[in-house]
């Protein structure tokens, strides 16, 4: 389902967040073009303005230069004429009635000597006859003093001219230089116009007529300026010249004559160069824009397009591999595509695997359920803690007559006949093997009938329950007989096996026993048959005694081991305070000849489920070994801590150590590490084997560690803690004799009272604190903390409300009896036949007020 959802998700249109890369590129291009256009426009504008200003500056300069030149020329002509006028030859010419003379003059125009009536007496050109200059306005003034005037129409040439005159002394006449105005413009243009194509225009003082022009010098000269833009100097710089061309003008006055000299730059030509440079710039900008566009296009094609395609592939809109679709993108993009392909491949593979495994899981679950439900034999699962049914199959429902719901509300004890329940609880209370086949058992059906079944069970984890899976096989009579036959065969086989093992054992034991026996028998014979000295006798008897002890220990150990192995030594598991047990065991070793044994117990150790005497024996064995195999002394540390739901007890020494190859054999019967330094250390070789059996019977493990010879060794065993702390009894039985405790429990149970047994006062205290009890049966002779001390503490902590019945072998004198009475003891019984029953009755009686009250 999840996969489908994902595919639907992939088909959804992609969410829009902001612009696409395309839009960004378009925007970028638009902005780029705008900026380029603006730049081109402003460059054009600026260069236009620059060109205009440069042209105006040129024009102004040229105009000033032209007016200065004209003024200078006039001054020069003035000097020339003055020099001539001062010449006595000129005066002579004027004085003579006739006569020929000639003058030379290079500028366009002519140099004349004129008499008073206006007749040319001498000229630089062909001399006109008659008083040609009689009527000119300037003549009277020229006879009197120097004159510079113009324009006037030269009557000789008919040209518009200017005149510079110097009088000849005595009023005889005057020397005049007539300058034609028309060529002046061209001259100015050639001298000052330069490459700028300046037009020079000289106008009269009143601005009414053109004196000269550099372009089309013939037109307009002498013509009136009325109606043109040159009527006055005031006016815009930009004017249309007389031919209609737009020009930019500068102007300047010639002071001597009052003429105005205009210099005009051709605006179009000035601007054309500006436009040229602006256009060049524009070309550069365009080239730049084109280059940028190219780059953008390339980037787009190599990045944006591949990314878009990649996105299509990712959305699943395009088939195939991302790398193939993306094609030739930028390296980062192809890398990305490759990564994506890789990722997709992984995702697809894992998805497929998960899908497969999910399908398999579904199929296998269905299969198993079918197996379970459809199995013809009754099967169920129950919780190991609560013993409640967790699952039952159809066959169980049919066979037992309970509905499924009724089953699930029951515990497995409820389908047993009542008398079988204790046996069942005992079996379940032991650590069960992972797989177990037991039977026949009796099961009760809903209709009250009972059937015989064979139970096959194994441990499973069901959800978070520690559970057991049970298959109940119905036994018909013939099957039962067959089973019995099988069992007897199996027994026979195992008996054969056992007998083989026994033979081996016997041979080993016979060897172990023969050695001490040989000494005893041999020395006895020597003593009987020979005369020996007193010293020898003592020595022999010493050896015999020692070997006798050795034989006894060996036989004891061996018998113990046989009992434990054969399951004949019944363990009485009860809650026990492990640290009290350890302390009591260590008291055995408080020998002043040795350094005290160090302890390292974790605080608040939980109660363990133990047969106190057996565990005591294990501890004593390990500590005694530690001391035995530390001939050079060294610390011995006994530790206890909680580890993984178990209490872990360790005994560490700094003694001889254990070679690596021996670690595996240590717990085998009669195995002893054989090195020269431990030949003299006595032992039966059975202690560790016994310890191992005891620890394993408790559901714990024992192991040995050593870093090698001479490096000490550590023995560690684990012992389960009391799992069900809430399990509580009505009566707390504090009694170190397990047999009597059992008797008491049975008597109490017969009166409907449950009980919890504590083998010592420390455990009893622990149990009172954690679980409490309604009454206590107490022995006074207890290992460790005494019964009296326990009683005092009980009263102190829990008040006088709990009835206490004392059953003990201890002789109680009057004083002690008084103390006990003060402590509110219900009764003191002397342990003996019938006393368990009596104690139980007293307990019931003492609880009656409480029962009535409730």
């Amino acid at each position: 389902m999840a996969v489908n959802g994902r595919q639907r998700g992939m088909a959804d249109p992609p969410r829009r967040h902001g612009w696409s890369l395309r839009s960004y590129i378009a925007l970028f291009m638009a902005v780029l073009l705008g900026v380029a256009g603006l730049a081109a426009f402003s460059v054009r504008l600026m260069s236009e303005q620059d060109a205009r200003q440069a042209a105006i500056a040129d024009a102004n300069f040229a105009a000033r230069a032209a007016s200065t030149q004209i003024a200078n020329d006039l001054v020069l002509l003035q000097e020339t004429t003055a020099k001539l006028a001062a010449n006595p030859q000129i005066a002579a010419v004027l004085a003579a009635p006739a006569g020929a003379c000639s003058l030379s003059f290079s500028p366009a125009g002519h140099l004349d000597v004129i008499n008073r009536d206006g007749t040319v007496k001498c000229s630089s050109q062909a001399r006109p006859s008659g008083p040609v200059y009689e009527a000119v306005a300037w003549l009277p003034a020229a006879l009197l003093g120097p004159v510079t005037a113009g324009p006037f129409l030269d009557p000789v040439s008919g040209n518009v001219s200017a005149v510079v005159a110097s009088p000849v002394a005595g009023g005889l006449g005057t020397v005049v230089a007539i300058i034609f105005m028309a060529p002046l413009g061209a001259g100015l243009a050639s001298a000052l116009g330069g490459a700028r194509h300046l037009e020079f225009l000289v106008t009269t003082q009143d601005g009414e007529a053109v004196l000269t022009r550099s372009s089309n010098p013939d037109r307009w000269v002498g013509a009136p300026l009325t109606g043109t833009s040159f009527g006055s100097t005031s006016g815009p710089v930009r004017r249309t010249d007389l031919d209609g061309t737009n020009r930019l003008y500068g102007w300047s006055m010639v002071d001597a004559t009052g003429w105005t000299v205009f210099a005009g730059a051709d605006e179009a030509s000035a601007l054309s160069s500006a436009y040229l440079s602006a256009n060049r710039f524009l070309v550069i900008i365009l080239a730049g824009v084109a280059a940028m566009s190219l780059v953008v296009v390339v980037v787009y094609r190599r990045v944006a397009e591949p990314v878009r395609r990649l996105s299509l592939v990712m959305r699943g809109s395009a088939p195939g591999s991302a790398l193939g679709i993306v094609g030739t993108g930028a390296r980062e993009v192809t890398d990305l595509a490759e990564d994506f392909d890789h990722l997709m491949a992984t995702v697809k593979r894992e998805l497929a695997e998960r899908l497969n495994s999910e399908q398999e899981a579904v199929v296998s679950e269905r299969n198993y359920r079918t197996l379970f439900e459809g199995h013809p034999q009754p099967m169920w699962l129950y919780d190991m803690e609560t013993l409640a049914f967790l699952e039952v199959n159809d066959a169980a429902v049919q066979r037992y007559g309970y509905s499924r719901d009724e089953f699930l509300a029951m515990k497995i004890t409820e389908i047993r006949p009542e008398q079988d329940v204790p046996k069942l609880l005992e079996v379940i209370g032991q650590p069960l093997p992972a797989f177990d086949k037991t039977g026949p058992w009796r099961h009760r059906l809903k209709d009250g009938n009972s059937v015989q079944v064979l139970i096959t069970s194994h441990a499973v984890t069901f959800g978070d329950h520690v559970a057991r899976f049970v298959l109940a096989e119905d036994l018909t009579e013939s099957e039962r007989l067959e089973l019995e036959l099988h069992q007897s065969q199996a027994r026979a086989e195992s008996a054969a096996e056992l007998s083989r093992a026994k033979d081996e054992m016997v041979s080993m034991v016979s060897h172990e026993m023969r050695t001490p026996l040989a000494s005893i028998v041999g020395f006895t014979e020597l003593l009987v048959t020979r005369e020996v000295t007193a010293v020898q006798r003592k020595e022999y008897l010493g050896v015999m005694l020692q070997e006798g002890h050795r034989l006894t220990a060996l036989i004891n150990d061996f018998l113990d081991l046989r009992r434990i192995e054969g399951g004949h030594l019944t363990m009485r598991f009860a809650p026990a305070d492990i640290s009290a047990l350890l302390k009591r065991a260590l008291d055995l070793f408080s020998d002043p000849a040795h350094a005290p044994i160090e302890t390292n117990f974790e605080a608040d150790l939980p109660l363990v489920r133990a047969d106190g005497d057996s565990i005591f024996r294990v501890i004593a064995n390990l500590v005694s070994n530690a001391r035995k195999y530390s001939p050079g002394g060294g610390a011995i540390v006994v530790g206890a801590k909680v580890n993984d739901g178990m209490v872990e007890v360790s005994v560490r020494d700094e003694g001889l150590g254990i070679p690596l190859e021996s670690l595996n054999h240590l717990f085998h019967k009669f195995y002893r590490v054989d090195t020269a330094d431990r030949r003299t250390i006595k032992g039966t070789g059975l202690g560790l084997a016994i310890s191992k059996n005891i620890v394993e019977a408790h559901g714990g493990k024992i192991s040995a560690f050593s870093k090698g010879l001479g490096k000490g060794s550590t023995f560690v065993f684990t012992i389960p803690t009391v799992r069900d702390q809430a399990h509580t009894g009505d009566v707390l039985v504090v009694e170190d004799d397990s047999g009597f405790a059992r008797l008491l429990e049975a008597e109490l149970a017969a009166r409907g009272l449950s009980s919890v047994w504590a083998a010592d006062a420390e455990t009893a205290e622990h149990l009172m604190t954690t679980n409490g009890a309604r009454a206590v049966v107490l022995d006074l002779l207890l290992p460790g903390l005494s019964g009296e001390a326990f009683l005092q503490r009980l009263r102190k902590r829990h008040g006088p409300g709990v009835p206490v019945v004392i059953v003990t072998l201890k002789d109680i004198d009057a004083a002690a009896s008084l103390v006990l009475q003060k402590a509110g003891v219900t009764a003191v019984l002397r342990k003996g036949p019938g006393m368990a029953e009596a104690a139980a009755n007293l307990i019931v009686k003492s609880l009656v007020p409480e029962l009535v009250a409730t």
């Binding site: 041979s507 016979s510 040989a518 005893i520 028998v521 041999g522 020597l526 048959t529 050896v543 030949r679």
Partner: protein, 132 residues
């Protein structure tokens, strides 16, 4: 009790006791101790073989079950050494199985005794072995 007849032909003979059990060594030592023999002891097979090579004893009383080299191992070494051709060997075994006895006799032991044994019996065997 015991009639000892030093022949004069016989030099003082050396008897080696090899047993890992001190009490057994003491018993054997006490049983055969006399002016006729020098008794030396070894605590395991390796020491026994070293002492056999060094002292060349006339008789070796070998415990079969010893740590390390067993009595049978030492016996085979003795029988394989031509220098020790005159060395007698009596096995002491605590194993009742006949297979061990057989193995010992095949390997060349002169006699064997099963623990527990009678010291007088042992003495007889020792005397016998040394008078051959």
């Amino acid at each position: 009790m015991r009639s000892r007849t030093p022949t004069g032909l016989l030099a003082l003979r050396t008897v080696l006791i090899a047993d890992d059990e001190p009490s057994m060594r003491l018993l054997v030592h006490a049983t055969i101790e006399s002016d006729d023999y020098t008794v030396i002891e070894a605590v395991d097979g390796a020491e026994a073989w070293a002492m056999i090579q060094q002292h060349k004893p006339s008789l070796v009383l070998l415990d079969v079950q010893m740590p390390g080299q067993t009595g049978l191992d030492v016996l085979r070494l003795v029988k394989a050494d031509p220098d020790l051709i005159g060395t007698r060997v009596i096995l002491l075994t605590s194993k009742a199985q006949e297979s061990d006895v057989e193995k010992g006799l095949i390997a060349g032991a002169d006699f064997y005794l099963t623990k527990p044994f009678s010291p007088l019996d042992l003495l007889t065997r020792v005397d016998e072995a040394l008078q051959i």
